[in-house]
């Protein structure tokens, strides 16, 4: 499916979502409350078949956080970028680690680096940072560490 066909299809499925076609791939922004059900549809609906989650990341926009999921279908080879905007003071989102197993590690990275709390995650602990770093999120824009900060 190309960008236009995919957009028409997804508009039917998610009437409340907003789209952005400026980039290389189709971008869809979904509300945090609808995210889990939308992820299940994207993965399991036969004509969509987004089975390969190749990039999970978070962007700190200073006013809010955005989780970005890059999806690809290994069968149809179409792409979709799913974005979810989160509150910066209390970021919470349902986990998708049971849908795409790769999300488990990537969500742990987003948890420690950006402080996003993934609900129902099977094993949400620090992965990269040493013990005792809880609560300080190094990848956020306002993070300051007087000892270890590298300024270039």
């Amino acid at each position: 499916m190309n960008k236009e066909v995919l957009k028409i299809k997804l508009t039917e499925l998610f009437p409340t979502a907003t789209f952005d076609e400026s980039g290389e791939w189709l971008n869809i922004t979904i509300a945090p409350a609808d995210f889990l059900s939308a992820a299940e549809i994207l993965r399991n609906k036969i004509e969509l078949g987004f089975d390969y989650l190749f990039c999970v990341t978070c962007v700190d926009w200073k006013t809010h956080l955005t989780m970005v999921y890059h999806l690809e279908s290994t069968l149809y080879r179409h792409h979709l970028v799913v974005k979810v905007q989160l509150d910066r003071t209390k970021p919470e989102l349902e986990t998708v680690s049971h849908i795409w197993r790769t999300a488990e590690f990537n969500e742990r990275e987003a948890y420690e680096m950006f402080g996003v709390n993934f609900l129902n995650h099977p094993d949400l602990r620090l992965l990269i940072l040493p013990d005792g770093w809880e609560g300080r999120n190094p990848m956020r824009k306002d993070f300051e560490d007087p000892v270890n900060m590298i300024k270039l």
């Binding site: 390969y52 190749f54 290994t74 680690s97 094993d123 990269i128």
Partner: protein, 380 residues
């Protein structure tokens, strides 16, 4: 299909059993981890119940560092991630900046880039072959592999100035033209390596002890490989077609004759065979290109200060370990607002627990060797 999730949801699952279970640490310093990886293994006798990786021993926060570097500077930091595929890392970053700036790369530079990529892939696979065999218990292959790898390092040294982190690619092409000896030395290498790759197969592939160590070990099904986001030989050993060079060709890959190697075994032997066959494919690519480097510039004319237009850019390249992705969010300034590196090792490592569970502790080292982990690539 998602077997761990169910196990983890059971109360008490994964918790050590006072009578039977033992917890063993491998690493952070261990000869078989190829870097500072720390694995906490829950064992019942010799059977692995759970493998928990602990990362971050060499985490340098390259993504954060890149936020304060310009679009020319950040490329040099990326060589230090997957230091065995540093050319290909640089390539991915250059492609992403070029995509944003809409820079057309001259034909000569494109061919040189692909040549360097493939030589890097060969060097990386050679090191994997030597070190992987050593992990499994065969010491001789290590010396054979390093003999050939040294030739590639010498070629790199002559043209790029360094042997490991080359920093040779810049947005718009490559930094300087190749050394006058380049073609001659690559020809020499091709002639030498063509006989040696058969020797590799004779020495190790058919060896009964080796086959027993890898056959049927660390099984990963096709569905699981996709779900875990595995790429590169790890996924292609399970029959997943995921070669970015074939699926989304960049530079001159679309004009080249080569096959995407896949195996359907899904075990360590399949991953081994994929890499061995890939070496032959890479050698054939180098052979096709070495006499056909077009004349012309090696660098497109670019502005001194690059400013990527506001937006998001993603580029994907195939490193020796799998798919490497660069995601740049630009606000229109001289530095990226956010950079994310999708490293192949991180996703491949996440499948380690799945592959090793239920197997024997001795097999863990074989599984790790055949995933070909490079820790700086995982930690970033």
């Amino acid at each position: 299909m998602y077997r761990e999730t169910e196990i983890l949801k059971q109360p008490g699952a994964g918790e050590p059993d006072v009578f039977g279970d033992m917890i063993i640490n491998i690493g952070p310093q261990h000869p078989s981890t190829h870097g500072v990886l720390h694995l906490v293994i829950t064992l019942n006798g010799e059977t692995i119940k759970k493998v928990e990786p602990h990362l971050g021993y060499i985490h340098r926060s390259i993504e954060k560092m890149c936020e304060s570097l310009s679009f020319r500077q950040f490329i040099y930091v990326t060589s230090k991630m997957d230091y065995l595929s540093s050319h290909i890392n640089n390539h991915g970053c250059c492609l992403c900046v070029e995509k944003g700036m809409q820079i057309e790369v001259p034909a000569r530079a494109q061919v040189i880039r692909v040549l360097m990529d493939e030589l890097t892939r060969l060097a990386s696979h050679q090191l994997w072959w030597g070190a992987g065999a050593m992990d499994i218990g065969a010491l001789t292959p290590f010396f054979h592999a390093f003999r050939e790898r040294e030739m590639i390092n010498d070629i790199m040294e002559e043209t790029c100035g360094t042997r490991l982190t080359m920093n040779y690619m810049v947005p718009g092409g490559v930094m300087v033209d190749v050394h006058p000896n380049f073609q001659g030395r690559v020809h020499e290498f091709i002639k030498h390596f063509k006989t040696k790759i058969d020797e590799y197969d004779e020495l190790l592939t058919g060896n009964v002890i080796f086959q027993n160590r890898v056959k049927g070990v660390g099984y990963l099904s096709k569905e699981d490989a996709i779900s875990y986001g595995c790429t590169g030989p790890t996924a292609r050993g399970s029959g997943v077609s995921c070669d970015i060079r074939k699926l989304y060709p960049y530079e001159v890959y679309s004009k080249l004759q080569f096959d995407e190697v896949t195996e359907t075994g899904g075990d360590c032997l399949a991953r081994y065979l994929v890499r061995m066959k890939e070496m032959r494919q890479s050698l054939s690519i180098v052979e096709q290109l070495i006499d056909n480097i077009p004349e012309g510039d090696v660098q497109a004319k670019t502005k001194a200060v690059l400013k990527l237009p506001k937006g998001e850019y993603f580029s994907r390249v195939e490193t020796a370990r799998g798919e490497f992705g660069v995601y740049i969010v630009s606000e229109g300034g001289t530095t990226p607002y956010r950079i994310k590196f999708r490293s192949p090792g991180y996703s491949n490592l996440s499948a380690l627990d799945h592959m090793a569970r239920g197997g024997k502790i001795g097999d863990l080292v074989a599984i790790m060797a055949m995933i070909d982990l490079v820790i700086p690539d995982i930690d970033r």
